[in-house]
């Protein structure tokens, strides 16, 4: 069978591309979570400048397509600021990994910000009051009492964001990152087997997304404590 042959023939490069896709997604999601926590706290803060900063960031990211952000950050910023995005020198040589992570972190960070804000707001205000009445500072109460509960309710949504970011990395083929789509494009340029190769790419995404979705709904079922 021809499709199967093509699949096994190109499996090594696809696995390598899958590793890049996963790596960029995981690392970006970690940074995005940190960005989300910082800007999420800005958003619920009583200090006007912080709220404005968060709103500015959110409106830029959500108001523009990821593709435009990608092109702007990868091609635009270096021109304006006079630098070059470094290529990875280690395992994935000649890959714009750093740029990819910056782009995806900034993008997913905006969506994580909304998740964090929603998560914090879902926690009963009485929790903050109880913690404060025990003499904890705002920060201590956030870290010890509010955040653990917020993160727990957010967990399914974080997995969903992971799925979105994973699929979004396909756009990074625009900057030559050899993730799944870029890998397929390179192969198709040689063998013209567009139908089979893109079907294989789709299959990779589908398998991961399906696994993650079921993990997410599993998490949704277990959000109460001590039950």
């Amino acid at each position: 069978m021809k499709a199967l042959n093509l699949f096994t023939q190109h499996l090594p490069t696809f696995l390598k591309a899958l590793a890049i896709t996963t790596y960029v997604t995981v690392i970006s999601l970690i940074f995005a979570t940190l960005i989300g926590i910082v800007f999420g706290l800005f958003k619920i803060s009583k200090k006007k400048p912080l709220v404005l900063a968060a709103n500015f960031y959110l409106s830029i990211i959500r108001g523009t397509p990821l593709l435009v952000q990608t092109l702007f950050i990868y091609f635009g910023l270096p021109m304006a600021l006079g630098f070059r995005w470094p290529w990875a020198t280690f395992y994935w040589r000649s890959q714009p990994i750093l740029a990819a992570i910056v782009i995806m972190s900034l993008n997913a960070g905006a969506y994580m910000t909304e998740l964090v804000r929603g998560g914090i707001e879902s926690v009963d205000p009485g929790q903050m009051e109880a913690a404060r009445s025990l003499g904890m500072s705002y920060g201590q109460a956030m870290v010890q009492v509010v955040m653990p509960q917020a993160l727990r309710t957010m967990l399914p949504s974080i997995v969903n964001q992971f799925i979105v970011t994973l699929k979004d990395t396909s756009l990074l083929s625009m900057i030559g990152l050899r993730e799944l789509v870029q890998n397929a494009k390179i192969i198709v340029a040689n063998n013209m087997e567009a139908l089979t190769m893109y079907a294989i790419v789709g299959l990779f995404y589908w398998v991961i997304v399906t696994l993650l979705s079921s993990a997410a709904s599993n998490l949704e079922r277990r959000t109460t404590y001590g039950k």
Binding site: D124, G126, Q127, E129, A130, A131, R132, S133, L134, G135, M136, S137, Q140, Q144, V145, P148, Q149, R152, T224, Y225, G226, K227
Partner: protein, 243 residues
Amino acid sequence: MASKIIVKNLKKAFGPLEVIKDMSLEVEDREVVVVIGPSGSGKSTFLRCLNRLESIDGGTVIIDGFDLTDKSVDINKVRRNIGMVFQHFNLFPHKTALGNVMLAPITLGILSKTQATERGLEMLRKVGLSDKANVYPAQLSGGQKQRVAIARSLALNPDVMLFDEPTSALDPEMVSEVLAVMKELANGGMTMVVVTHEMGFAREVGDRVIFMDGGYIVEEGSPEELIRNPKEPRTIDFLRKVL
């Protein structure tokens, strides 16, 4: 002997709504003051001003010599000395009963983990819940939750305790177990301000009863005279409805 709590001309508004118009009150050391009044009279807000969970718009509140309206006073330090028990318990659902009691002493760096465990178990014993140490709040009854909440406040060894309708959210059969713990605290010499509708508790444990309405103290006196022989028409009217 200086008063434990001194409130002078306290004012508090939420936007255009003046909840506390002008309140002055002194609470002596080891005194139990019970605050009663119709809903919306400002009694919960008054209590929440005593540890500045609500910002204070006017007047002064002095607790243990610390002026809460003074910006240079570290409110977090003052709050360690003021325990607060809420109507809806507000236990931390992600912590066990013991975890709830231990959290503040550890977070504030007052006790080591071992000391906090010891202290936590001691406090749970005090409220009669030694056997529930490793149980999460979701598995506790309302009365048990409120007793854990009391233990949680006591872990910091406060010398004032504020109770905001501690039995209002409880099923009737669980009210007495919470009141019993509070009574024991009062007998142990704790200074307490209790907002409640439990007239039996007011009469039995209270040293003084305050009737609030419309953001003012309308009448105050010993439980006997205020509950048996109220003078103000509004007090008479309120007591007729609740008794």
